[in-house]
């Protein structure tokens, strides 16, 4: 299920052998033999000798490019993001835990303050709430697609979620703005631009992520587990609850963490509906702000190298570190197997 940008299931074993048995899915099996033979024999003389393996370093170079890219992203963002702490001498504690925000206050009035707490809490609040809403729905969907009605799952649910994953994030933002914000304003209260609108939009956006990873890990379970449970007289619900979900929990948790990561890093859709007001979230109807939202809004209006600008880069660095942290967490979980 790697088509849609979701992370590969971590427990997939490494296959490094050159000739390996064909995998279960025979999607491109049985190519017309005539075509193949003519391609091999009719073409240039094969097996010229003396040049075997010369392509290897080149291919390796292409593959190693991703390492280079990742490394340079980390280096570039860190170099800019650490300037706040190294050049402007802001203490990381202030950035992480203070709620005072006055990045352009002159020294006469007490100097600038760059407490990022409202942004950080805003990001945490929207993404955690989004995951809390999306998780039950998408895991139920995954169980439905794998265990309850595989035919319907394959025909209707799977394509539906693929489409949901394909809807661009600005469109989600636009929909939130034209449906959700007026609805909240008219029927629930407040301005409409709110934490509530933000996490609901995000919840829809991360449904496919959690669904896909959970469905994959349920599908990867050995049939024996299910058969043994049924043979012992369990109902389908008992089998699902006591056997299948616990057995697939590493994968399911990985899916939830990935959903959380996606929600945390989403920028435009959230920015459009959340109101962008810098305050510690108090109620679901309060307009709040997030890290990504601050970067999106303030980056063009600040001068490169100024403290305000540097703080925005520090926020980007924080996002980067958190995203790497999620990946490492998933890796560690997969290696050890989670115990709950």
């Amino acid at each position: 299920m790697n088509r849609r940008g979701e992370i590969e299931m971590p427990e997939r074993p490494e296959r490094g052998r050159r000739l390996r048995p064909a995998r279960g899915r025979e999607r491109v099996g049985g190519v017309r033999p005539g075509g193949l033979r003519s391609r091999l024999a009719g073409g240039r003389r094969v097996g010229g000798g003396g040049q075997a393996g010369r392509e290897r370093p080149f291919l390796l170079g292409c593959a190693a490019l991703v390492i280079l890219l990742t490394a340079s992203i980390i280096v570039f963002i860190s170099a800019k993001g650490l300037a706040t702490f190294v050049v402007n001498r802001v203490s990381p504690v202030e950035f992480l835990f203070s709620a005072q925000w006055a990045p352009d206050r002159p020294a006469a009035e007490g100097g600038p303050r760059v407490g990022g707490l409202p942004y950080i809490l805003g990001s945490v609040a929207v993404s955690v709430l989004a995951v809390a809403v999306a998780t039950p729905l998408s895991i139920s969907g995954a169980v439905f697609a794998v265990e309850v009605a595989p035919r319907w799952g394959q025909r209707a649910l799977q394509p539906a979620l693929e489409m949901l994953a394909g809807i661009p994030s600005v469109v989600y933002g636009w929909l939130g703005l034209t449906i959700l914000v007026p609805f909240v304003r008219d029927h629930i209260g407040g301005l409409g631009f709110s934490l509530l609108a933000g996490f609901l939009v995000l919840a829809v956006m991360i449904l496919p992520t959690i669904f896909t990873v959970s469905a994959d890990s349920l599908r990867a379970l050995p049939v024996d587990l299910k058969e043994a449970a049924y043979a012992l007289g369990s109902t389908r619900w008992q089998t699902i609850r006591r056997v299948l979900l616990p057995a697939a929990r590493t994968g399911i948790i990985a899916g939830v963490v990935l959903g959380l990561a996606r929600a945390f890093g989403e920028a435009l859709a959230v920015q459009m509906v959340i109101g962008n007001t810098r305050k510690i979230p108090g109620s679901l109807l309060d307009p709040v702000t997030t890290l990504t939202s601050a970067i999106t809004m303030d980056m063009p209006y600040t001068v490169m190298g100024s403290l305000w600008n540097n703080v925005l880069w520090s926020m980007a660095l924080l996002l980067l570190l958190i995203s790497c942290g999620f990946i490492v967490a998933i890796k560690l979980m997969a290696r050890r197997g989670v115990k709950l």
């Binding site: 091999l40 291919l59 469109v171 459009m272």
Partner: protein, 294 residues
């Protein structure tokens, strides 16, 4: 509660969840297409946007989106395919392969705004190109590359081993086997995946705000010399894409027909993504039938 009753209730709830999910998609698509569809016209699709008056279109934005997609794919697909071939056919387990895989996972979960900021530093400022299509295309490549590598690797791994063994037994070298047997067999899978990835990239906005920019110069369609500054083909001009346009008109809020333009542009975006998705499905099925049933 009786186990059978519990089972029935659970089954009903699972059905409910599935119906909610499908209804959600149906509702969203229906809403966009109904509201946006009314504003799509030939004029809307081809004319340039207005800055403060009503009646603007999305012509240049639509062109930019496609052009950016092509530029980005031209960079990503060859590199991604070769990297995938390496991972599927050549890599041996070890720290290097591990590092490559870890990098791919890290890259693919990076927030796109962070990729955009990296693009701003590396492709806009450092290269001196300024906001440009090229910078945008390279930023998209960062997002796209892990996707393409994974898709292609999956497709290459799905090629049956017999074919490789047959080719090797005929005396072909490993590269000949890969290039003439494995990759052609994996081609349908790769193509389908690339189209789906294209749908993804087409709607990307956050990574483009600070790389391809939020403005588009007056374009003269008909001026096809890529070196000319107002030629649509010039890769070093700033270019606002359709997705960025939706965000920008809304953030600026200057045009009076904001709602119509937003709805129309969202509908166009969705239609293109939908076309990519359905196209990939259709191609996949067609190839599958041709290769298996003959």
């Amino acid at each position: 509660m009786n186990a059978c009753t519990a089972d029935r209730i659970a089954t009903a709830l699972f059905w409910l969840a599935a119906i909610v999910l499908i209804a959600l998609l149906g509702g969203l698509l229906g809403y966009i297409l109904y509201h946006g569809g009314r504003h799509i016209s030939w004029h809307f699709l081809t004319s340039p946007p207005e800055t403060i008056h009503a009646g603007g279109g999305i012509g240049p934005q639509l062109f930019n989106s496609f052009y950016l997609l092509v530029l980005s794919m031209a960079v990503t697909v060859p590199i991604g395919l070769l990297a995938a071939v390496y991972l599927a056919e050549y890599a041996r387990p070890g720290p290097l392969t591990e590092a490559i895989r870890f990098s791919i996972e890290t890259l693919s979960s990076l927030p796109s705004i962070v990729v955009g900021l990296f693009g701003l530093l590396a492709f806009v400022v450092l290269t001196g190109w300024g906001y440009s299509l090229m910078a945008g295309a390279l930023a998209l490549t960062v997002i796209n590359l892990p996707l393409i590598v994974r898709i292609s690797e999956e497709a290459v791994r799905n090629v049956p081993t017999d074919l490789r063994e047959g080719s090797l037994a005929l005396g072909a070298s490993q590269w000949q086997t890969v290039w003439r047997v494995v990759v052609p067999c994996a081609f349908p899978g790769i193509l389908t995946g690339v189209i789906i990835a294209a749908g993804r990239v087409f709607g990307e906005a956050a990574a483009l705000l600070y790389t391809a920019g939020m403005s588009s110069p007056r374009l003269h369609f008909g001026l096809w010399n890529p070196a000319h500054p107002s030629s649509p083909l010039n890769p070093f001009r700033p270019a606002e894409t359709l997705a960025v346009h939706i965000w920008k008109v809304n953030a600026e809020g200057l045009i009076p027909d904001l709602r119509q333009v937003g709805d129309g542009a969202a509908a166009v975006l969705i239609l293109v993504v939908l076309a990519f998705n359905l196209g990939a499905r259709w191609l996949g099925r067609r190839f599958h039938r041709r290769l298996t049933a003959a």
